[in-house]
Structure formats: structure tokens, C-alpha cells
Amino acid sequence: DVKVTQSSRYLVKRTGEKVFLECVQDMDHENMFWYRQDPGLGLRLIYFSYDVKMKEKGDIPEGYSVSREKKERFSLILESASTNQTSMYLCASSSEQGDPYEQYFGPGTRLTVT
């Protein structure tokens, strides 16, 4: 079974702190994604990576950066956390070789910025 793990299920940070969210997948997938999920807005893509060290901006990249130094690991960085970044953050991966429609999601990290 594909497994996507995220470093924390719950995180509380203060405004202005630098925040790292880590995501690891164990199926050698090429593509990895970071979304945030807010009530009434669905999932919105923050950043996408199709290979090591490669990244593309999604729909809402402002205030975020990403890092992909190894194929299995994709990190989301909030350089200076703000209260409007309080949200559920979901990581996903997909394979170029398998079903292109299927994304595998991690359990999510609920981040609260106070």
C-alpha cells in the first residue's frame, strides 16, 4: 500500500515563526503536492513538484516556499507564519507510471497560528 506520512497531525505556532511541514512518501512517486483545505473552499494547491529540486507554483503560493532535496520528501515552509495561514495542510503524491488521475494523500496537518 502507498503510504504518505506527514510529520505532525497538529501544530500550534506563533505569528512570525518559521514553520516546516514535512511529507514523506514510500512509493517512489515522481509528483508531490501541497494543498491547504479550508471550509467552503475545498482543497487549494499551494505548490507542486514533479522531480527532485523541481517545483511549480500552484494557485496560492504567496507566503509559502517548498523544498524537494530527495525524491521521497517534500517540505512546505512558512517563512513567517501569519494567522491567515491557520488551516489543514494536506500532502499528496502521484506516479507518472501509474494511474495519472490518482493522488495519494497523507492524513493532514492541522496548523493553528496564534
Partner: protein, 111 residues
């Protein structure tokens, strides 16, 4: 504005009832996916529909893709408490590197 509109936003029904939820867009899309997300978990893919008019069945769940490929529906027969969750529709960009999600229908099935 959302690329995909889902309705209803919330649905609370008794075990054994039937229900239908909808996903609509003003644009034509080549394929559409349905996911279910249980509380505290990430979404899990249920099905992908590709052909206009296509109907796919997954046990008590029936998925339909509109003839014009601008809408889709999910029908659940004899709902059970285990069906409780958030149902999301999504579509992908042509090269599968971006996915766009609707805001979801939150379903609660009471025993």
C-alpha cells in the same frame, strides 16, 4: 469563483435512505474524479469518469458523468453510517500536474 460547484454543501440523512450529490462546472472537462475524505484523514480516490454519459458503480455508489461533460453526480443507495464523510469532486489539468477540487458535500448518515 470555484471551477467546480458541489451541492448540497451539507446533507444529514437516516441510515437506509438514498441520496444524490452533484458536481457542476461551466466548462467542459475531459475527466472527473470523486474522492471521499473521512474525519481526520486525507481524501481517498473513489472513481474517475472519463467518457460523457459514463456510469460507474462501486457497490452502493453510482457515479455518472454528464453527456456534455460539464457535470457529474454521485448516488448512494441505502446509505450507511460508514458512508459518512466529505465527498469531493476534482478535475486535473491535461498533463496531470494540477488538480482542482470542489468544496465538497459533507454527508452525515445517522444510525
Amino acid at each position: 469563483t470555484q471551477l467546480l460547484e458541489q451541492s448540497p454543501q451539507f446533507l444529514s440523512i437516516q441510515e437506509g435512505e438514498n441520496l444524490t450529490v452533484y458536481c457542476n462546472s461551466s466548462s467542459v472537462f475531459s475527466s472527473l474524479q470523486w474522492y471521499r475524505q473521512e474525519p481526520g484523514e486525507g481524501p481517498v480516490l473513489l472513481v474517475t469518469v472519463v467518457t460523457g454519459g459514463e456510469v460507474k458503480k462501486l457497490k452502493r455508489l453510482t457515479f455518472q458523468f454528464g453527456d456534455a461533460r460539464k457535470d457529474s453526480s454521485l448516488h448512494i443507495t441505502a446509505a450507511q453510517p460508514g458512508d459518512t464523510g466529505l465527498y469531493l469532486c476534482a478535475l486535473s489539468s491535461y498533463n496531470f500536474n494540477k488538480f482542482y477540487f470542489g468544496s465538497g458535500t459533507k454527508l452525515n448518515v445517522k444510525p
